[in-house]
């Protein structure tokens, strides 16, 4: 029985890994196929079962019949990085305030304010798109990168606040008190004593922001038209009545690559030891 358990455990893990990795494998093989190879049953082994070609990959970088996704890629990167950075700065400041000071306005308390932030994400995005459209139009920011950055900040800020409030609550108040005894005011206590200790929390928040910002299709789709296009829009635009699966696969793999690299790089900051007992 004790030997059976590891066998069972690793079987389950292996099955789950196949389930998760399957679509990526499928996309990876398909991206090297052409119209002929895609039709006529599933094939997986290059050279043996089909002749690999780079048509799909050429198509997404300006090849004939495709589009250049590099421009949309840069737009997406710009919007995601800018919005994440703004959200992290504003979010951690807000979170620090909500974690350390007590606010009261009638029956509204700190926990209500935090919930208010989070509730922005509970709302269906469709509810927000018309007001966003109207506001951006009034400000003349429709179809511009700054407009999209503002909207994305509105989407990411709740996540940053939520993650950071939780993290700051885990940092003992004594650290702040200590910093003030050592000669800091509340702001320098935050920037010099608390923030440098918050790298794991900031990493988690940044990761969430990057994922949500990068994956946003709906708002970019509704709030931009001709001038600006983000990567998810560009990928969707590749589709046609006869789906070019090879091009779509290549575009999808290219689209997720920054997040995969980011996850691999960030993973070491997220190890358990780094998060638990982060302070003492």
């Amino acid at each position: 029985m004790p030997r059976l358990y590891p066998a069972f455990k690793y079987t389950v893990i292996a099955l789950w890994a196949c389930f998760v990795a399957g679509p990526f494998m499928w996309a990876a093989t398909t991206s090297f196929k052409d119209a002929n190879a895609v039709q006529g049953g599933a094939t997986y082994l290059p050279w043996l079962q089909y002749e690999p070609t780079a048509t799909g990959w050429r198509n997404i970088f300006g090849g004939s019949g495709g589009v250049d996704v590099l421009g949309p890629f840069l737009n997406s990167a710009l919007v995601t990085v800018a919005a994440s950075a703004i959200s992290l700065v504003l979010g951690s400041l807000a979170a620090y305030g909500l974690s350390r000071f007590r606010y009261r306005a009638g029956f509204v308390k700190n926990s209500d304010i935090v919930f208010f932030f989070v509730s922005q994400r509970i709302m269906p995005p469709v509810v927000l798109v018309v007001p966003f459209f109207y506001l951006l139009q009034v400000a003349g920011l429709l179809d511009t990168v700054p407009g999209l950055v503002i909207v994305t900040v509105a989407l990411l800020l709740p996540i940053a606040v939520w993650v950071m409030v939780d993290f700051f609550n885990g940092i003992p108040r004594e650290i702040d008190e200590m910093a003030m005894l050592d000669g800091c005011n509340p702001l320098t206590a935050f920037t010099r004593a608390i923030l440098p200790n918050s790298l794991p929390g900031l990493t988690v928040a940044a990761m969430f922001c990057a994922v949500f910002g990068w994956n946003d299709f709906f708002f970019a789709f509704r709030l931009t038209f001709t001038e600006i296009q983000t990567l998810p829009q560009a990928i969707v635009a590749l589709n046609s009545s006869i789906p070019p699966w090879w091009t779509l696969s290549a575009a999808a793999l290219f689209g997720i690559s920054p997040l995969v690299l980011l996850a691999i790089w960030v993973e070491r900051y997220l190890s358990k030891g780094n998060l638990s007992g982060a302070i003492r």
């Binding site: 650290i175 005894l181 050592d182 003492r280």
Partner: protein
């Protein structure tokens, strides 16, 4: 270093609470320059509130706080120049030992050379000299606590060094070493020290003066000897000393007091304001004797506790429990009934829980 005065200072965490329920009842206190004080008392007695008021982390509901005569009640923590060591080691994890020690000085914008000299001096005194370049978070808990202490000592102009149960989280074996180190350091740097603890040994071995607190009040202030020899109330007698002071209910007799029908002579007579006053005697002074005499009573053995070099005998004296602390080599009486002598000068009369005044 400074002399700290609390003038009519009290605090309530709940606004508009009745004064009886304040965490710290209004009090008047003076901490003299370059002396070490220990605040002792059970959890929730107001010790930490008092520290918070001194450091400025708590603004008192009432009263003024004076440092060397200057009113600092409304000054923020930063401006008070107080150093504090917390219950568990508080260090800046992202910094090296050196940067941790230098942080308070950098906050005060000292120049680099002066910071360097001071940090090295303090690190040397704390035996951290060889580890200045290490990441502070990689140190053991007691070394981290030394850093906390060091950060308080680098500023040679601090008004006072407050320690809030600094040895609570330290391993018992290391406690002794660290306590001695803290003592050495405070003798070397001579700050005004206020040391909070619930451990009376720590308090007695560390401080020149003790303040016993209960229910938001200072119930007695004095040297360790005064608190041991003459507790001002049954509470202090019970709180200071291990095992606590014995308290026996006695009766007024025609001359003096009586216990179980036999005359009992105390250090001085209790005023006849209650029918049943109490007398207190430390277990250290209760003696097992063989010869009958004055202040000698028959007793019955109830139990024995082993305290290492000493034994605590629990005896029944005229129907009341009394504890006697006797050296181990004296042995336990072989018979169940024996005689116990209470030396007259060590028997203190208490009325309504307070030490009776000399007539």
């Amino acid at each position: 270093m400074a002399r700290l005065d609390l003038a009519d200072v009290g605090h309530s965490y709940v606004p508009d609470a009745a004064e009886e329920r304040w965490a710290l009842k209004p009090l008047r206190l003076t901490f003299e320059d370059a002396r070490t004080y220990a605040l002792v008392g059970p959890s929730g007695c107001g010790k930490s509130t008092l520290l918070g008021i001194l450091s400025g982390l708590v603004t008192p509901s009432r009263g003024r706080v004076l440092f060397d005569g200057a009113d600092v009640t409304d000054l923020p923590t930063k401006a008070r120049n107080i150093a504090q060591v917390f219950q568990f080691p508080v260090i800046y994890r992202s910094m090296t030992v050196y940067d941790n020690l230098a942080f308070p000085l950098r906050c005060r914008r000292w120049d680099r050379a002066r910071i360097d000299a001071k940090v090295r001096q303090v690190a040397e005194a704390l035996d951290l000299g060889g580890r200045l370049r290490q990441q502070a978070r990689r140190l053991t808990a007691d070394d981290k606590q030394l850093i906390s202490l060091g950060r308080g000592l680098v500023r040679d102009d601090v008004a006072a060094l407050l320690m809030d149960e600094p040895l609570t989280t330290i391993d018992p074996q290391l406690k002794f070493t660290l306590r001695r180190k803290i003592r050495e350091i405070t003798e070397q740097f001579r700050p005004t020290v206020i040391y909070v603890t619930h451990d009376q040994y720590e308090a007695m071995s560390f401080a020149q003066e003790l303040l016993v607190m209960d229910g938001g009040r200072v119930v007695q202030q004095g040297t360790p000897e005064q608190l041991f020899e003459a507790p001002s109330s049954t509470y202090v007698g019970w709180f200071i000393g291990s095992p606590p002071m014995n308290f026996l209910t006695v009766e007024h007799a025609r001359e003096g007091l009586s216990l179980g029908g036999r005359p009992l002579a105390a250090a001085w007579d209790a005023p006849q304001v209650t029918a049943r006053p109490q007398v207190g005697i430390r277990p250290e002074y209760v003696r097992i004797v063989t010869e009958p005499g004055a202040n000698t009573f028959p007793a019955r053995l109830r139990g024995v506790q082993d305290h290492g070099a000493q034994r605590v005998l629990e005896v029944d004296l005229a129907g009341q429990p009394v504890r006697a602390k006797v050296p181990r080599e004296d042995g336990v009486p072989g018979v169940e009934e024996f005689l116990v002598h209470l030396p007259r000068t060590k028997i203190l009369p208490y009325v309504d829980g307070r030490l009776a005044t000399l007539p």
